[in-house]
């Protein structure tokens, strides 16, 4: 532009101007680079942070699904309570920070104004309870026990109560239909912990602070399905937390309903009969100890033989699951878990384990056949059997002479199995085993002992097969204390045992094997394992994973996911052996050790099979075992410190069968009285709106006042479904028995065996 000589300009100034220009543009470039880094390189991170900044979530919990019995009767459902809540966001917008509204509200609810104010303040380090620990954007519940009258007042005078809602809200209820309790199977809920929230954060079903989660039983097993998905309303808020708009929100999805195979009527009877059997046992004198039986715990399992489905499962002592609803009180909690409680929370059908006694003999018989001993050969049933100077007696020292294995099962002859086990022990090398075949132990494993049955309930215990590996490990961990005790020249029984264990506990001794063959000693089984085994004998050999859940039904009823029976093994016998066992067990019921309990049973129409067991527990009274099956059902009952198998458990099991089939004590079958002559194969009817139709259930007189729920209306008995003539044996059946303060865990150091 200009080519005039530039006066007043030296090269020094020109150079410096260039320097300034370079500096200026490098500053601008720096800004551009940094802007690119923030917005393009790390843009996603900041977008997420911005979203966290300005989105607040309000959670509407999903309605938890119901747990229904096989006929659609709710075992666990929700009842509606009127919950009055306050929106803190709305209150804080008021001039007096909502003070006036809360005071008026306190007046209507008949609460102290300061108590109401305390409930809506936010928890922090300096605020004592009560205070609100949840999100300040979440409506804060003031009471869940509002009356309809109070709720109406609040709603009708909405202008007086801005920010206050009175909404019907679902609260868990364990209805106990037909007098059933089902406590341990259903489980219970309790509020979620911080750890669980963190753990579930990135899972498919994240937890909310307001959530309750299943802690045991079905509530825990099917927690994800039952819980559903909470609804989330997202509000955009400004820097002061004021709501400035609504963002994308998710509607609440109610949880799925679980249909179980449990029949509430059968369950009620099983619970009642178990309780009665235990009460009766406590009236019996134990001739061994000279005091009455303690009968401190018991369990009964009613299973469908052909599918492994659980029709009833009762555990005693028991408790009322409603104690957990709305938060358990400290006193109740102590009563359920304290040292003197006898642990009613335990489901003894899957968590109680004891030596099986003679109900184990079906395994020993199968093991003998597989080891090459013919089922039909005769074996000498002597009154006692001696090995190396040690004498093993038959039950009541009774001898039957030469009998086959079937008869040995019928009369529960111990010496036959002693002999077989001893011979096999010798064959395996005796005290110096060389590649032992261990038929008796192998067979127990093949029958599924020592591992979980795979039932759809949490925390099932495994039991124990005291085989050579176990013995070795057990000896290793106990030898020090045994040897110390054995050294003291203690002449007592315990001292001798300790000495012997110290010296040879690592070995499988002849006595161990012999005891083991009749289900005594260190073997531990659960009632459920025994039920699984006996139903497998009934159904031809299939070991099913027992199931309580039968179907998961989506809340709209459109998706039904059936839980199909699954097998986890086959019993190791052929058809012939199975039939021989089956015949022998039928013999037990007709002319064996259980015959006196099944007098008059219509054996022709409904062939009954049974095996009794009386397991000795060192330092305690005997455990009563009773395993039975028909074509359709398997019932196993056990009572800890209850006496003999048929003596303590027999009448109860018989009564459950009577109820199932509608039989009476003389063997007459009245189809109208039969609760469930065939297992319930179908699912309850699902109506168009997704609700599941509940069939009528009679309410027992003892609990009538508790039963003002919806199935009550449908309780006009249609023929063939109600056992209305049946008188409850004990109106107090749901009360906790005053059991002695001992758990069911038997002492593994059991004494020599004997059986009835």
């Amino acid at each position: 532009m200009s080519n005039l000589p530039e006066t007043g300009r030296t090269s020094r100034v020109t150079i410096r101007l260039v320097v300034i220009q370079i500096l200026v543009f490098s500053l601008l470039l720096t800004l551009g680079g940094r802007l690119w880094y923030l917005q393009i390189r790390s843009g996603d991170q900041y977008t997420a942070e911005a979203a966290n900044n300005h989105i607040q979530q309000v959670v509407a919990p999903a309605t938890r699904g119901s747990i229904l019995d096989a006929r659609g009767v709710p075992l666990a459902d929700n009842e509606t309570r009127l919950v009055v809540s306050a929106s803190r966001t709305d209150l804080m917008k008021m001039k007096d920070k909502g003070k006036g509204v809360l005071t008026r509200l306190a007046g209507i609810l008949e609460l102290k104004p300061e108590d109401v104010a305390a409930k809506v303040r936010l928890c922090d380090a300096k605020t004592p309870q009560p205070c609100w620990a949840g999100s300040p954007y979440q409506p804060i519940p003031i009471t869940d026990e509002a009356t309809t009258q109070q709720a109406l007042q609040i709603r009708e005078r909405a202008e007086d109560f801005p920010g206050i809602t009175a909404e019907p809200t679902a609260v868990r209820r364990y209805a106990g239909p037909g007098g059933s309790n089902t406590a341990q199977v259903l489980g219970y809920l309790s509020p979620v912990t911080d750890d669980e929230i963190i753990k579930a954060k990135d899972s498919r079903s994240p937890l909310l602070r307001s959530d309750q989660i299943g802690r045991s039983g079905l509530e825990r097993q099917y927690d994800t399905e039952l819980r559903g998905k909470a609804g989330v309303t997202r509000y955009e808020v400004d820097n002061l937390g004021r709501v400035i708009g609504k963002a994308k929100s998710d509607k609440a999805e109610p949880g799925a309903n679980i249909v179980t195979s449990v029949d509430a009527r059968v369950q009620a009877i099983a619970e009642r009969e178990l309780d009665q059997a235990m009460k009766d046992a406590r009236k019996e004198m134990d001739r061994n100890t000279g005091v009455n039986y303690k009968a401190d715990a018991g369990a009964v399992v009613v299973m469908e033989s052909k599918t492994g489905r659980i029709v009833a499962m009762a555990s005693n002592p028991t408790y009322d699951p409603n104690a957990w609803v709305g938060g358990i009180s400290a006193k109740d909690y102590q009563g359920l878990t304290g040292k003197d409680s006898n642990f009613p929370l335990l489901n003894r059908a899957i968590q109680g384990q004891a030596a099986p006694g003679s109900v184990f003999k079906v395994i020993s018989a199968t093991a003998a056949v597989n080891a090459g001993y013919s089922f039909t050969n005769n074996y000498n049933c002597s009154s006692s059997y001696s090995i190396g100077g040690q004498v093993f007696k038959n039950f009541e020292s009774k001898g039957y002479g030469p009998i086959d294995l079937g008869r040995a099962l019928e009369v529960s002859c111990d010496t036959v199995f002693y002999d077989l086990a001893y011979r096999q022990w010798q064959k395996d090398g005796g005290n110096n085993p060389k590649h032992p075949a261990d038929w008796f132990y192998k067979t127990a494993h093949q029958f599924g002992l020592g591992k979980q049955t795979g039932i759809d309930l949490p925390n099932e215990v495994r039991g124990r097969v005291p085989d050579r590996d176990w013995k070795k490990n057990y000896w290793k961990s106990n030898k020090d204390s045994w040897c110390k005790q054995g050294k003291k020249d203690d002449d007592s029984y315990a001292g001798k045992i300790a000495k012997e264990n110290c010296e040879s506990g690592m070995r499988m001794r002849a006595g161990d094997s012999v005891n083991y063959s009749i289900g005594q000693g260190d073997t531990l089984v659960t009632p459920l394992q025994m039920a699984t085994i006996y139903s497998a004998i009934s159904n031809g050999g299939t070991l099913y994973n027992p199931t309580v859940g039968k179907a998961i039904v989506s809340p709209d009823g459109k998706r039904v996911e059936e839980i199909k029976p699954r097998a986890h093994g086959k019993l190791p016998f052929d058809r012939k052996t199975r039939d021989q066992l089956d015949r022998a067990l039928a013999g037990v019921a007709t002319n064996g050790s259980a015959a006196w309990r099944f007098g008059g049973w219509p054996q022709k129409q409904i062939p009954m099979h049974a095996k009794t067991g009386t397991a000795e527990v060192y330092g305690k009274q005997t455990t009563s075992w009773f395993a039975t099956y028909t074509e359709d059902y398997t019932i196993v009952m056990t009572i800890s410190q209850g006496g003999t198998g048929s003596g303590a458990s027999g009448p109860a099991v018989r009564k459950i069968y009577n109820a199932l089939y509608g039989a009476d004590d003389k063997g007459k079958i009245d189809a109208k009285k039969a609760l469930l002559p065939r297992p319930e194969a179908k699912l309850p009817r699902i109506q168009k709106d997704g609700t599941i139709e509940a069939q009528a259930i009679p309410s027992p007189p003892a609990r009538k006042e508790d039963k003002e729920d919806k199935e009550e209306g449908a309780a006009e008995k249609p023929p063939g479904t109600a056992d209305s003539t049946r008188k409850p044996d004990d109106p107090d059946s749901t009360e906790k028995p005053d059991g002695p303060d001992s758990t069911e865990k038997p002492d593994p150091a059991a004494a020599g065996g004997q059986d009835e």
Partner: protein, 399 residues
């Protein structure tokens, strides 16, 4: 080019009409630097949108009128433009004579801030309340008067042809002239303005051709000054905290680091194209304090994204580029020095302002030229544009 006699007569006729004067080939309008002017106008336009976006929801500030800041910003821009026109009309040379008066007024006003007339905003006593919701920040105008005053002293002998470079005595006088208002502003304390003024002084000395020793000496004094300021506790706690938060942004995100943290979230979440004007959650949620003034850039970052925020930097670059051209091409040292002072002012203040929102500079209360809401800074920036235009227009042109 062939011309007629008549045309020649008309061209030099003193009776030429106003329109003719404005449209003539050598007219002021034609000689204006339109590129710079349009860039500065574009910045002011963007400013109005951003200020509106940042303030329409701030009921505690806008007296319930969402357009309160929008209208005031337009008014400010208009006044700024008028002041720029005035500056061009008067011309920087004419102003040269008035510099001592202007300087005196600005020093007095600056000093008045320290008297009970002054108002404290955000910990700094930098404002004079005029009533009616108006206030002025004299330190903004000090940036102009120091530039003009120093340029007048430094360029006097050189432009007169007496010397090739300013002598030591002149440099000392110029530094003394700058030191007085700087010390007053330091007492406010308005550290941001002091930083800008020091940078202006440096650029003015550089461009005047003063001896290298002065430059080196000044830099050294600057470093020592910083150390002294730190050691003597001239700084208020809020200023120390700002530096601490700059050094460690994770420090106390709810307190000191809150500003920087929220600013960075706002800008970072903008991405390439931003959330759209008026749709930024950080902006509508008012998470960034001082968003219409010092943190205006975060609105652009969030709502207009990299493209929009980048455009602001580019437009500032265009203004600075044209200013550098003017500085290089003017033939008198006075114009060069004034232009260099303004360049340093705009460049450093923009860098500091945007840099603090991006987390690469500590937080100081400096507005973004042309973009931040605020009358004083808007007026000062437009006066500076007028001065630059005047330097270009009044340059001796080839006939």
């Amino acid at each position: 080019m062939t011309t007629t006699d008549g045309y020649k007569v008309r061209r030099y006729s003193p009776e030429r009409g106003t329109w003719g004067k404005l449209t003539a080939r050598d007219s002021v309008l034609r000689r204006l630097d339109w590129v710079m002017l349009l860039a500065a106008l574009a910045l002011s336009g963007i400013s109005t949108l951003l200020v509106y976006s940042a303030t329409r929801g701030r009921t505690e500030l806008n007296h319930g009128d969402p357009y309160y800041f929008l209208l005031r910003n337009i008014l400010n821009t208009g006044i700024g433009l008028a002041l720029a026109v005035g500056a061009v009309w008067l011309g920087h040379r004419a102003l040269r004579g008035a510099v001592p008066i202007l300087y005196g007024i600005s020093v007095l006003l600056t000093a008045a801030v320290l008297t009970p007339l002054g108002a404290t905003i955000n910990g700094a006593r930098s404002w004079i309340q005029l009533g009616g919701g108006f206030s002025i920040q004299p330190s903004e105008f000090t940036k102009i008067t120091i530039t003009l005053g120093m340029a007048m002293l430094l360029a006097a002998k050189v432009d007169a042809g007496d010397r090739l470079h300013p002598d030591h005595r002149t440099v000392m006088e110029a530094l003394g002239l700058a030191a007085l208002p700087i010390v007053i502003i330091l007492l406010m304390p308005d550290l941001g303005s002091v930083m800008v003024l020091v940078v202006i002084v440096l650029a003015v000395l550089l461009s005047s051709g003063a001896s290298n020793r002065w430059i080196a000496g000044l830099l050294g004094t600057g470093v020592i000054g910083c150390v002294l300021i730190w050691q003597l506790g001239v700084l208020d706690e809020y200023q120390i905290n700002r530096f601490a938060a700059f050094a460690n942004p994770a420090l106390d995100p709810a307190g000191v680091g809150y500003n920087t943290n929220q600013a960075r979230i706002a800008i970072g979440s903008g991405g390439l194209t931003g959330s759209g004007l008026f749709r930024g959650s950080q902006t509508t949620g008012q998470f960034v304090p001082e968003q219409q003034t010092d943190f205006i850039f975060t609105v652009a970052g969030e709502e207009l994204g990299f493209l929009g925020a980048g455009l602001i930097i580019v437009l500032l670059g265009v203004v600075l580029w044209r200013a550098c051209r003017i500085a290089r091409e003017t033939t008198e040292l006075y114009g060069t020095v004034v232009a260099a002072g303004i360049i340093a002012w705009f460049a450093f203040q923009s860098f500091e302002n945007i840099g603090m929102t991006l987390g690469i500079m500590p937080v100081t209360g400096l507005p973004l030229p042309f973009v931040s809401y605020g009358g004083s800074s808007m007026f000062a920036a437009w006066i500076a544009v007028g001065l630059l235009q005047s330097i270009k227009v009044q340059r001796p042109v080839s006939a």
